[in-house]
Amino acid sequence: MQRPPHFLIKHISRLSLFALVTMMACAPSPSQAEMPKDPLDSTMWEDLSKRFFGTAPIVFDDKVRVVVPSLVENQAQVPVTADARALRDVKKLIVFADLNPITHVLTLSPRKAKPYISFRMKVEQATPVRAAALTGDGVWHVGGVFLDAAGGGCSAPAMARKMADWSETVGQTQAKLWRELDGSARVRLKVRHPMDTGLATDNTPAYFIETLKVRGSEGKALADIEMFEPVSEDPTLTLMLRLPASTINVELEARDNNGGLFQSSVPAPWRQSQAQ
């Protein structure tokens, strides 16, 4: 690291002195967009908030919930739910883990879906796991929890790498759709894919599903999901869609970073689920 030139240091210190005096003189200053204090007290927060939110306004908001198990049984498959259903007009829901070597886990654009996603992720060590919901007014609402875990989820080879025939099952998709009492539809889906992080000890390059499109009748966009390496092998997701009663099928299209395209079609029955 190079030291900044002396005159700059002087300049900065003079500036900060000025700032301090100004703050004392006219605090609190509502016009000044100040970084809210991170409730999880993460060393990465400042950098990550700049990276994900830039200069956009941020609030820490209990309405954005992150649900994780009370203990991590398998750090390659940690069940996580990001839930911003308590907010209105959510444009984007992103999930990231501060201390993962690859922080960004996924982004949900809930076009005709509820701002809710359940999935499984890899963790390399104990880390804050956050969800941030961007509402129509341009504000990021951030929620999160601290996840205690042993290490190694990102640097362990995929289980598929132990099977000679993994390439024959890649892209195979299983899914089921439930109509909910409130008129929405719950879809659970699983796409076979190694989701290699590129960090594994077996030197397998990164190979993962990057996008998942969820489409209704006549190709109408229901949800778009951008996935990254920390999503667990064989991504298994739960989504909640606002699905017209007339919809017969929900189409899924997953694309990986090698250009692999995996299409599937989930029948939408008229059956009521008992889920709340």
Binding site: P69, V72, N74, Q75, Q77, T81, G152, S265, S273, A275
Partner: protein
């Protein structure tokens, strides 16, 4: 039991484990000629520590297990495990361990969670019986039952082949997980494989004949032991009492069959792997009821389309409130059982890609 990620052996964890060794002094560790990887690391880092941090007190508060044997009947003692999850508070001493006095010597069932525990156990067995160790049995391959092996000769330790095979595959991963959860209690602990593979049969110890029966369900290989002289039946972790059963390597259907078989063996006293020894079959019934209950809750949650996080929040039956670690083990069981339900229960929906 209580350990984390049983099937999963993160390579990163090894480096973390070595961190404990950086605090190890070799002062308390004489007389072991074999210089293992961990000991070599310990030596190296102790030398470094001595050079740069001379004031650091390496001998502060050595952790000691206090083994409190309960006399079950003439010549049989149980060292009860804490009805807890493995933690730095209990040093992993959560499973029941049994000592028999026989005319051929002491017979021990399961060796506890760590080398230090095993050494305390070996001393206790010699003190109680006034004899040397004749045999050590392992009921299954879970870490709270096997990591005291180092205190005994490998040839003294007998277990079914399935237990030995399980330890070969998962033992190192278990050790990593134990170092992480139990911490310094694990100091110096290494995996020792049993030297003697046994099957269903009988072994003579002079005044005692001990029958071994191989079953499975809690794991792929569970050993049940029966002492003909006293009528004491040792169920291993096929039977839990007042502590929630664990399922990381379980086959629930097979486990229920084994429980039915276990219940058919006439006995005077039943020793579960966790929980109090009693006459009767309460441990068998309770373990069966638990398995039926969680299997049903988890299957129904899956059928309703719930995610794993939602399934983990499902209510448990009222009677489980008096079972230690009910919610904790239920959550773990969701993790263990859900993937198979998803693999078998979600229909294939892919369209032929052009």
């Amino acid at each position: 039991m209580g350990f984390f990620s049983p099937l999963f052996q993160p390579p990163g964890a090894k480096a973390k484990r070595n961190r404990f060794i950086e605090l190890v002094t070799t002062k308390n560790d004489p007389g072991h000629a074999a210089l293992t990887r961990r000991k070599a690391l310990a030596l190296m880092s102790t030398t470094a520590a001595a050079a740069f941090v001379p004031a650091f007190d390496l001998d502060a508060a050595p952790l000691q297990y206090t083994l409190k044997p309960q006399r079950l009947t003439d010549g049989i003692w149980m060292i009860p495990g804490a009805q807890e999850a493995i933690s730095q508070g209990n040093g992993g001493a959560i499973a029941n361990v049994i000592i028999f006095d026989t005319s051929a010597g002491a017979v021990i069932v399961d060796t506890g969670p760590s080398r230090r525990y095993g050494e305390a156990l070996a001393k206790l067995a010699r003190d109680l019986t006034g004899k040397n160790i004749a045999r050590v049995y392992l009921t299954h391959f879970h870490p709270d039952h096997v990591f005291g092996n180092q205190a005994f000769g490998a040839d003294q330790i007998a277990a079914p082949k399935g237990v030995i095979d399980g330890l070969k595959v998962m033992g190192e991963g278990f050790a990593d997980a134990m170092y992480r959860t139990a911490g310094d209690w694990m100091r110096g602990t290494e995996l020792v494989l049993p030297g003697k593979a046994i099957e269903t049969g009988v072994e003579d110890f002079g005044n005692r004949r001990i029958r071994s029966l191989t079953m499975r369900g809690h794991t792929s290989s569970d050993l049940v032991l029966f002492d003909e002289l006293s009528g004491v039946l040792i169920g291993g972790d096929l039977a839990f009492l007042d502590r929630a059963p664990t399922t990381p390597n379980a086959d629930i259907e097979r486990w229920r069959i084994s429980l039915a078989n276990l219940g058919g063996i006439p006995h005077r006293l039943l020793v579960p792997g966790h929980g109090p020894a009693e006459d009767g079959t309460r441990a068998i019934q309770q373990t069966r009821d638990w398995l039926v209950a969680i299997n049903e809750i988890i299957s129904k949650a899956f059928e309703r389309g719930l995610s794993m996080n939602e399934a983990m929040a499902e209510p448990l039956p009222k009677w489980t409130e008096k079972i230690a670690l009910a919610r904790y083990e239920y959550e773990r069981s969701v993790t263990h059982l859900f993937p198979k339900l998803e693999a078998d229960g979600l229909p294939r929906v892919d369209v032929e890609t052009p």
